[in-house]
Amino acid sequence: MNELTAPAAPPAGQEPAPGAGETPSGPEAPPPITPEKTLQPAQWGMICFLASEAAFFCTLITAYLTFLGSAAADADPKPADALKLSLLVIASTLCLLSSSFTVHKAEGALRAGRQGGFCLWWGLTILLGVIFLTGTGVEWRELIVEKHLTISRNLFGTSYYTLVGFHALHVTGGVIAMSVVLGMGLRNEVTAKNHLGAEMVAWYWHFVDGVWVVVFTVVYLVGS
């Protein structure tokens, strides 16, 4: 580094030196640096991860829609026979959607320093997630046992179980991650000063919710 700190070193190359004609009255000070506003690395990381997840789900949804068109020539049951907008589906969807609200409340409580409120809303979010998963389980049982729709039955089963299954897997992952955060929150390891991790889990949860809105629209509204 020593040679770099010596300003007298002659230029090694032939870069254009438009300022060469000026009087060498000592080096000019560079303009001051304005600090940049950017997200935290963890936030960028989460956005990137969710973008890759979005690309993953787009592929599954494309496959679902591709096979929806050819399902007519397929073995029974057809989407219209198997899927109903039953009370169960609507109720579990409402549970998942409202969990976005509860997780938002939990974040607010955490930032405001209300530890108890955080744990309560956060726990409620987990509960709603578990209810949603239970709803999916009940629906799958009905589909498999009563309607004889399995993943190998026909193309509809193939693409339906893959799409909905991967979404449920993501909900499960979210429930596990949130349970870990809840455990840490109860031991005061997640606090107002240390809330970035919880916030990232919440982002993930909102994303999983958003995916369900699309999956629900594609599978239950458009598809059946």
């Binding site: 580094m1 230029p11 000019e28 640096i33 690395p41 960028w44 993943i151 190998s152």
Partner: protein
């Protein structure tokens, strides 16, 4: 001039190292989360697989030396080209670029490490174990014999009965997760951890290309992962995604694969564009010509490359509208690529050129990538592809891009940065031997493939009849491969010997201008003693020429 305040003479003992395993021990390397060590491990990993994939290529070339030859059987030949392609793309090309990125992105932006060091370690080990998973298939009675793009329905249980295909898919899912982890890490590091004053438009060009490579990783790898999962579901749970007998769609796999496969080409070339854009200015003693246009061209390539994938599928029978769309989008991509090419030439124009090894390999890159790009434009025309699809002409084209482009450029990068990574120079005489053997061997290998392809020789055939007139061209190709082989041996010998015995490099042997050269060689574990402050794209130039700094002329 805050950069001036850093001193790099005496590395302090690392605080973390006092508690962890002994520095340099095996345990230290296995458990490291340091971006420089992980970068080196990535590079070692890919050099290992480079040797493996190279041996596979040589076995294939020997089989094609004579007509009706039986050096390897038909089935083994199928396994060889599958493993060669898979290895070179997933376990050589991507890891070596991610490894160099890992080592140099934090250094070039003045950061202490990557944003997520442990995720970084996960990426490395996932890549390695993904590779092992794919290679375990040899132990199950045969490697996958699908071709690297594994067209359906070949991947269905009916056609590939053994577990090789499952291991192949599983290995690529695992290594894909590692690659995505790398992409996430790069973007978070570049967007969130730049040194004070280094705005996004002042980052070194290599960093800019790693940013867009990572963007492509995030968008392109997950669809492949989804497709591989569908293969596993088809094979193991009886799903029907690609099972044409039960209504599944073989063409859907092609779309999924190439939606990944084409951006993958740019994942493999954009970082190389970045390295070349670092090296050519330093060895021409000029600033990079048209930085802004280069940056915009990189972005343009990243976006357009997401909309060209079906140029790999012209012979599948798409509609004319689809054909025309993909012809047009593919041709459009040659515009930003051309911009880059002319900017590199303009950077050299009137410069004081130095012909040391990094620049030599840049010349290899420029001359060869040009030809690969031109055959690419030829193949972008659908009627041309109707004639030559799946012939050796195509094989010649993409090897010309991947070896002439990616490999030559990567060697340029390694020769450029090896002094920083080890504190010692690679041997220049060995470098020249390596370069010319590779250059001549390369042209002799892949040049004649254009002709055997036009004579109708299909790729992936394991042998041919004597009266086809292909023997001469195949023999030239095989001889070329035999000339290339020692160049890799020389390179590895050079890397090993120079590690201990090379000429000491000093902090900045090439008199370069980016931040990685402001610290010691090899850099201490904490990289910079003080956070550097940056005022232009060439902070070390500013430092050395306070009377004529770059920040006076750079405007945003």
């Amino acid at each position: 001039m805050a950069v001036a305040e850093q001193t790099t003479s005496e590395p302090k003992p690392d605080a973390a190292a006092e508690h962890g395993p002994e520095p340099g021990s095996l345990l230290d390397w296995l458990t490291t989360v340091d971006h420089k060590k992980l970068g080196l491990l990535y590079i070692f990993l890919s050099l290992f697989f480079l040797v493996v994939g190279g041996i596979e290529a040589l076995l294939m070339r020997w089989q094609l030396m004579w007509p009706d030859y039986d050096f390897v059987t038909r089935d083994r030949f199928n396994a060889l080209f599958t493993m060669h392609g898979t290895t070179m793309v997933f376990f050589v090309g991507m890891p070596i670029l991610i490894g160099l990125g890992n080592y140099f992105v934090p250094l070039m932006i003045g950061a202490r490490d990557m944003a997520f060091p442990r995720l970084n370690a996960f990426g490395l080990w996932a890549t390695l174990f993904g590779g092992f998973l794919v290679y375990f298939s040899f132990a199950t009675g045969g490697a996958p014999a699908l071709g690297w793009f594994a067209y359906a329905p070949l991947t269905e249980k009916t056609f590939s009965r053994g577990p090789a295909t499952d291991l192949w898919a599983l290995g690529l899912i695992v290594s894909g997760a590692g690659t995505i982890a790398g992409g996430v890490n790069f973007i978070a590091t570049i967007l969130g951890m730049r040194a004070p004053g280094m705005t996004l438009f002042k980052v070194p060009f290599f960093v800019w290309t790693m940013l867009w490579t990572s963007f492509l990783i995030l968008v392109a790898i997950p669809p492949l992962t989804a497709g591989l999962i569908m293969i596993l579901l088809d094979r193991n749970l009886g799903a029907h995604f690609f099972d044409a007998q039960n209504g599944g769609s073989a063409i859907m796999w092609q779309h999924m694969f190439w939606f990944f496969g084409h951006p993958e080409v740019y994942i493999l070339i954009l970082p190389v564009f970045g390295m070349v854009s670092e090296i050519i200015p330093v060895f021409s003693r000029k600033v990079l010509f048209g930085y802004e246009f280069m940056a915009a061209a990189t972005m343009g390539i990243a976006f357009v490359s997401l909309g060209v994938w079906a140029h790999h599928m012209f012979t599948v029978g798409m509609t004319r509208t689809q054909d025309l769309f993909f012809v047009a989008s593919t041709l459009i991509i040659s515009i930003p690529t051309g911009i880059k090419f002319f900017n590199w030439l303009a950077t050299m124009y009137g410069g004081r050129l130095r012909f040391e090894s990094p620049m030599l390999f840049c010349f290899g890159f420029l001359s060869m990538f040009l030809i690969g790009g031109l055959t690419g434009i030829m193949l972008a025309a659908a009627p041309f592809t109707f004639q030559l699809s799946d012939t050796y002409f195509v094989v010649a084209h993409f090897h010309w891009v991947l070896i002439g482009g990616t490999l030559f450029g990567t060697f340029a990068g390694i020769y450029y940065w090896y002094p920083k990574m080890t504190g010692r120079m690679l041997d220049e005489r060995l470098a020249k031997w390596q370069f010319w053997l590779l250059y001549i061997g390369f042209m002799l290998t892949f040049g004649p493939m254009h002709i055997s392809g036009m004579l109708g020789m299909a790729r992936r055939i394991y042998t041919y009849e004597a009266d086809r007139g292909w023997m001469f061209w195949n023999q030239l190709t095989t001889v070329g491969a035999l000339i290339q082989a020692p160049s890799f041996a020389i390179f590895i010998w050079n890397v090993i010997v120079s590690w201990r015995k090379g000429k000491p490099a000093g902090d900045n042997p090439w008199d370069a201008w980016t931040l990685e050269w402001a610290t010691a060689s090899p850099p201490p574990s904490y990289n910079f003693e003080e956070v550097p402050v940056v005022h232009s794209r060439r902070p070390l130039w500013d430092l050395k020429h306070p009377d004529d700094p770059d920040w006076k002329y750079e405007h945003e």
